[in-house]
């Protein structure tokens, strides 16, 4: 459990692809009533359902604040492990460690700085002190040696690696005023390559419109395997996403990956715009330290905000005409995975998603 002064790349470590085999996954229990409506009860039901489905494919650990321990343990299926771990919010992919491995089947963790999605400049809530300890605590739980970056802000939803030398990020997020404003793009890239063990960083310009992560890549883009990926897509010119996804595709088609391949890109339809209702907004506590969610606000929704447990893919449904088409696209892309849709509006209501709420732990076998 040492904190290491070297870098992962110099030590021979890299981050494997999410599609590789997992030892299991980690989930955080949603709780804060100023961000989840009706005391988070509807979101908790969805999270319990997601956890139960995933647990049919790989072991699941749900982390929960002490005051919700009994409730989480009671609500979740008995085969799901529940452990106490404090958080400010429930997006463990952003706050948990990045798990990295080497060729000797060893694992370490990276503990980035987390600042509530943009700190005092642009953050979504205050404070974020508990969230910023989550990565360290999970490394301790797993006896992992780890790297700590006390001067570099990064969220797990803001980058995507293929496990084969390439990663994709957005300028909008990684170069935002709230993340690392004093660090140049090339210095950011050096940190990414040294810590995630990649050779090539592909910079898209923007994430999806109104993405609360300010350009989190995981609503926009996802690797299928090295050299092949999915991209959120719309042909509706009135949709603000129209320009964004075309801009991304253009960059991907003109930027070779680490192995000098052009990434082959499959288009994944976006659902129609989703709007927060008056009833939904009224279920949320007011707090001056949390970004308000108002009736009429547009939610970020993407089928790519899905999770891939061993042998399966769990994707969100929105009662949208494209729910069924997304299922077909996933089925064609992943013929050997069981494709499972789950109605997940409740966890997209506050800017989250299935991918944001589940963090895979690589298998060492």
């Amino acid at each position: 459990m040492a904190v290491l002064a070297s870098t992962p790349k110099s030590d021979g470590f890299f981050m494997p692809a999410e599609t590789d085999w997992h030892a299991g996954c980690w989930i955080l229990w949603p709780e804060r009533p100023d961000n989840w409506r009706l005391g988070a009860k509807p979101a908790q039901r969805v999270v319990a359902q997601i956890a139960q489905i995933i647990s049919q494919f790989e072991p699941v650990t749900v982390c929960v604040n002490g005051d919700q321990y009994e409730n989480a343990r009671h609500t979740l299926a008995p085969n799901i492990r529940v452990i106490e771990l404090s958080s400010n919010e429930a997006f463990i992919r952003d706050t948990g460690p990045s798990f990295i491995i080497n060729g000797n089947k060893e694992m370490r963790g990276i503990d980035w700085t987390f600042n509530g999605y943009g700190g005092l400049a642009e953050g979504l809530y205050f404070p974020w002190d508990k969230d910023n300890l989550i990565a360290q605590k999970i490394c301790q739980l797993l006896y992992l040696d780890n790297y700590q970056l006390r001067e570099f802000v990064l969220e797990g939803c803001s980058f995507c690696v293929d496990g084969n030398g390439t990663m994709v990020v957005t300028e909008e997020c990684l170069l935002s005023e709230g993340r690392n404003p004093k660090i140049s793009q090339s210095a950011v890239e050096t940190t990414l390559t040294e810590y995630l063990g990649v050779e090539k960083v592909i910079w898209l310009k923007r994430g999806l419109y109104m993405d609360e992560g300010k350009g989190h890549i995981d609503n926009l883009f996802s690797f299928i395997h090295p050299g092949e990926a999915m991209l959120s897509w719309t042909d509706d010119q009135s949709n603000p996403q129209y320009e964004i996804v075309r801009e991304a595709l253009d960059i991907l088609q003109h930027t070779p990956d680490a192995k000098n391949r052009t990434i082959r890109t499959h288009k994944m339809p976006l659902p129609d715009p989703l709007i927060i209702t008056k009833e939904e907004a009224e279920g949320i506590n007011y707090s001056m330290h949390t970004v308000p969610r108002c009736a009429g606000d547009r939610m970020t929704a993407s089928y790519l905000n899905c999770y891939l447990p061993n042998g399966a893919l769990i994707y969100p449904q929105f009662n949208d005409k494209n729910d069924k088409y997304a299922h077909e696209v996933f089925s064609a892309i992943f013929p050997h995975r069981k494709i499972i849709g789950i109605y997940a509006r409740e966890i997209f209501l506050n800017g989250g998603g299935i991918h944001s709420m589940v963090l895979q732990q690589p298998s060492l076998r």
Copy 2:
């Protein structure tokens, strides 16, 4: 992680002796300022020292409330695992699970009810809600199937097993008004034998004078191996312990164990009476929900409140004339263990001790 409806004995499980080989141990971080003086800082220093010494012999995990996580992680040696786990008090032997094993090298946990050392009738603090969840949480952390007793109060310091069919308890504690007042002695004995997998319960009358656990066995008696034990002792007739230890010896000499042996008993001297000073008492926060600790109060102190990590024995020293003699007795009894004394007045000040604050986890090898 199932909660089982059977009993350990019927499933072939029993509790091994503390002197058997450990996979490691669990410690809770002392914190509450209404029980530990000076914001618990002196006690934390002693606990950090104990953890560091033990970690030379077996892996140590220290559990800590969220608000003290950073402080504990900073204070403890890097090879010690620190995990978040809420508690009301720091005596993990009383609140953690009883680990039981079977012949197939499987482990399970027992989650007794904990009620703050006697509930509303006789308890030492209120509330005890977090403490009563500790056993369950540790079973979850270790993926252990477990037995839950929601109607039976028991603390780990109140019984001692030899791993060979015999356990020793005191009537003063187990039959106290605050524990299981509506359960007969024979019914208590049935629960003990069914859950801890023993054949014979030896009932001593009383624990040490002024023992806050109201007769916790671990200040008075400890097994060395099956058929052989240590008993706290004094030849000072003016000491209230004088009668107590003789009464205990008399029972031991006239009560055969599960294998029909008379337990061979070694006498361990007690330190002279230890009194809380005015300065010490003034360092403790007042609270109407915690038993007060006043200048002039007598502390319970016993060399037997020690811990036996693999290959060693860590015992408390009190700047008493018997510190050195205790060392010699331990050395003679355990010639193959490294005997290490540590000045531990700070953690006996509030009724605790080294044994109370460390819980061994059996090895399955």
